[in-house]
């Protein structure tokens, strides 16, 4: 991503890369395709030792702001995960951490924060609701005060790692406005219906909430005050998604360029055909642009810059649409092999397609940019 990595970032990269190569190489990812949960809890905990879930937690817990440096390190890890189509709840865990860190004035969640950071706890981010697009309209899940706490009613879908999550961060409408609560898996009234997924190892589910009772300690921030944190969560999610997709597209372009040198047709390498060379030039240009916009968005979000929301949407719309363009053309360059199960290309294409569609499609983010221009 960044061409000037700090020594720390280089370290995160090399340790994560080494870990993924030895623990979840692509053969292992293919095996996990058959596993109901897509990743092992033990594996996640060991990954967390490399900082996967600790980087956004600020040194000063009262800062009320995720660590900016941490985010810039985290995208290095996300990119490596993309290069290896790695499993694991990197995005939801770090988004929930963002919520816990940046929601002021509510109950203390530092114990859960520690457990998330260590990898002992996995959290699901339940932000989308069935039948709606990204960030459209008011929440239909409602939070109603009752004696001794609150009751949640509604449903959330597209919840990553729903089957593995120990906690769910659930957004809901309260009488005072949007609220967020952290609910334990297994709370009566909360049920999980696994969904189908295009990804090989990333699992999703629908979370149904039927009169789920929670105590006041479940609140994340104050009811009605959640909008600002939710915006930040969306920005962090967009940046992590883009960084991972950069890794996906970057790796695919890399091995496809190699292929073009190695593969001969009519006695010449594919890389000598101008029509293909020009398409590779386009792909290289788009990939550099993907890196540039992801990094710029990450920096803006890290600094909580005034245009962070815009730049997150710029990156998510650009990377979302261009990455699949790149990968599809790389499939084409591979010929028939590119559409076989045996070739790894589809593992990458699946991941990029999933990342493109979740947390706002390119079209949704473009509309958001237009909205922000008028705001």
């Amino acid at each position: 991503m960044d061409l000037d990595l700090s020594p720390d970032q280089k370290l995160f990269r090399s340790t994560t890369k080494k870990f993924l190569e030895s623990e979840t190489p692509l053969e292992r990812v293919r095996e996990l395709a058959a596993a109901p949960q897509g990743f092992d809890r033990d594996w996640w905990e060991r990954g967390a030792e490399l900082g996967w879930a600790a980087m956004l937690v600020p040194d000063d817990p009262g800062a009320g702001r995720i660590s900016g440096e941490g985010l810039l390190g985290l995208i290095v890890i996300a990119e490596e995960m993309g290069r290896m189509v790695a499993p694991g709840p990197l995005l939801p865990v770090n988004t929930v951490i963002t919520a816990l860190v940046e929601s002021a004035g509510g109950p203390d969640h530092s114990a859960e924060l520690d457990e998330l950071a260590s990898g002992a706890l996995v959290a699901g981010w339940a932000c989308d609701e069935p039948g709606t697009g990204w960030g459209t309209g008011p929440l239909r899940t409602v939070l109603t005060p009752v004696p001794g706490g609150f009751v949640l009613d509604g449903a959330k879908d597209r919840v990553e790692a729903a089957g593995q999550a120990d906690r769910f961060l659930i957004s809901a409408q309260s009488a005072d406005g949007p609220a967020q609560v952290l609910v334990r898996a297994g709370t009566p009234g909360l049920s999980i219906e696994p969904s189908w997924s295009l990804d090989v190892v990333r699992r999703f589910g629908e979370v149904r909430l039927d009169g789920v009772q929670v105590g006041p300690e479940a609140l994340v921030g104050q009811p009605g005050q959640a909008a600002a944190a939710m915006r930040r969560q969306n920005q962090v999610a967009a940046v992590l998604s883009c960084a991972e997709t950069c890794g996906v597209a970057g790796r695919v372009l890399e091995f496809t360029v190699e292929w073009a040198f190695d593969r001969y047709s009519f006695g010449r390498p594919l890389a000598s055909y101008q029509a293909l060379k020009h398409r590779f030039a386009d792909m290289k240009t788009w990939l550099e642009a993907c890196h540039a916009t992801t990094l710029a968005a990450a920096r803006a979000v890290a600094a909580a810059a005034p245009d962070a929301a815009e730049l997150a949407s710029v990156a998510k719309s650009y990377v979302g649409s261009r990455a699949t363009d790149i990968i599809q053309d790389c499939v084409q360059m591979h010929g028939g092999l590119g559409v076989t199960w045996e070739h790894d290309l589809h593992l990458y294409l699946r991941r990029a397609t999933v990342n493109r569609a979740l947390h706002g499609t390119p079209e949704e983010h473009r509309r958001r940019i237009a909205d922000l221009m008028e705001a």
Binding site: E193, L198, G267, A275, E342, E363
Partner: protein
């Protein structure tokens, strides 16, 4: 020769009495060709056609056909709409392999193989493409070496459709490495299932296992397996390619029955998808729905135009590459539109790959239509070089002994 109308009347009557009516839409008939039972069923239907005297309509009588004209075949095809037909046998068995054997085979090959296919006893397959071959069909490195009276075959082939279900194959092999590329090839008509042949079914991202890869390990072919001339195999392969274009373009007299064998595919009812996604009123979604519809209609119109022009000689045969290229464009567009309308439901959805997820699933094989049957890159070469007359690409393997041609590492 019986008049077309008389033939048509007989066919209509016979069809009603002898073949089952289709319940499902025509596009679904014949199965996907992925399963053995589909193939058993196709053979059985072909045997019924043969017993009823309606098999091999345009093939000569001396090779087991009826010796009638393409017009008779066309009439039969029209009448057969709505009946279950052995569509799996149209391509490549009848329209490519049997047609090529008829053009280039020995008397014995024609008599034995064509008749057996018409009886419903044998299924054919093409062994042309190779794992390292890509678009370069003539760059075959599977080798056949003469050993006394026989040939010994070694190498590998790929993308042969349903080889596992076939009996005989037309296999192109290199027999002279000192000659330039096109001049050292020989075509063999070989048994598919025999010692030394290993067949592996290739799984594609869309779930299909129709295509196969074959490995040849000292396979013994008798001398009479040669089709055409020794080292004249490219001429035979060229006939296969010609017949393939005719079959795909709808102009083959050896295709019997309407509709393509279905493939594992995706629904294209974007209006229904938009409704299920609650986006049927979004003007952008409506544009996409209209655009897809328009592309499909233009595709039909373009096929009419180009196939008519080729048939009447107003355009040369390579103009078929125009419709081939356009077809890929239609497919690209549809794959993209499906994903765009379905939104996040294309990648995770409770309904799975039966619901909007099928559009995400289909997106994975978006390029299939621009790879199979000659890549779009080759189509663009052909259009620019053979229709617009632009200079041919430099081929490093032209006029040099094939053994000196560089092959690359993959």
């Amino acid at each position: 020769m019986e008049s077309v109308e008389s033939f048509r009347a007989r066919a209509r009557e016979w069809l009603a009495s002898a073949l089952p009516r289709l319940g499902a839409p025509a596009a679904d008939q014949g199965g996907a060709g992925d399963d053995d039972e589909d193939w058993d069923r196709a053979r059985e239907l072909q045997q019924r056609l043969h017993a009823g005297g309606f098999a091999g309509i345009a093939f000569p009588a001396e090779y087991g056909g009826l010796g009638l004209a393409g017009e008779h075949q066309k009439a039969f095809t029209e009448e057969s709409a709505g009946y279950e037909m052995p569509l799996l046998l149209n391509v490549p068995t009848f329209s490519i392999c049997a047609a090529t054997i008829l053009d280039c085979g020995t008397e014995e090959q024609k008599r034995d193989r064509i008749a057996a296919a018409i009886r419903g006893d044998e299924v054919f397959v093409q062994f042309l493409s190779e794992p390292r071959g890509g678009s370069d069909l003539a760059g075959v490195i599977t080798r056949a070496e003469r050993d006394g009276d026989v040939w010994v075959l070694n190498g590998a082939k790929i993308w042969s459709s349903s080889a596992y279900a076939a009996d005989w194959a037309l296999c192109l092999a290199r027999t002279d490495w000192t000659a330039p590329k096109h001049r050292g090839l020989t075509m063999f008509l070989m048994k598919v299932h025999q010692p030394g042949v290993t067949i592996r079914r290739i799984r594609q991202v869309n779930g299909s296992t129709e295509f196969c890869e074959e490995f040849f390990d000292d396979v013994i072919l008798p001398a009479d397996a040669v089709v055409g001339e020794v080292n004249g195999g490219w001429a035979v392969a060229s006939r296969q390619l010609f017949h393939e274009r005719m079959a795909v373009g709808g102009g083959s007299p050896y295709v019997s029955g309407q509709g393509q064998r279905s493939r594992i595919g995706v629904s294209r009812d974007f209006l229904a998808l938009a409704r299920s996604a609650g986006r049927a009123a979004d003007p952008r979604v409506r544009e996409l729905i209209g655009e897809s519809r328009a592309m499909h209609r233009v595709h039909e119109q373009l096929i009419d135009r180009i196939s008519g022009a080729i048939a009447s000689g107003q355009m040369p045969g390579p103009a078929g590459s125009i419709t081939r290229l356009f077809h890929a464009e239609v497919e690209w567009k549809d794959a993209d539109i499906g994903v765009e309308i379905a939104g996040s439901a294309a990648v995770t959805d409770p309904l799975g790959a039966a619901g909007p997820g099928q559009y995400g699933q289909h997106f994975l094989s978006r390029q299939s239509s621009s790879l199979g049957g000659g890549s779009t890159e080759m189509a663009r070469n052909i259009i620019s070089e053979r229709l617009l007359g632009m200079p041919r690409e430099f081929a490093a393997d032209r006029d040099v002994p094939f053994s000196e041609v560089r092959q690359g590492r993959s």
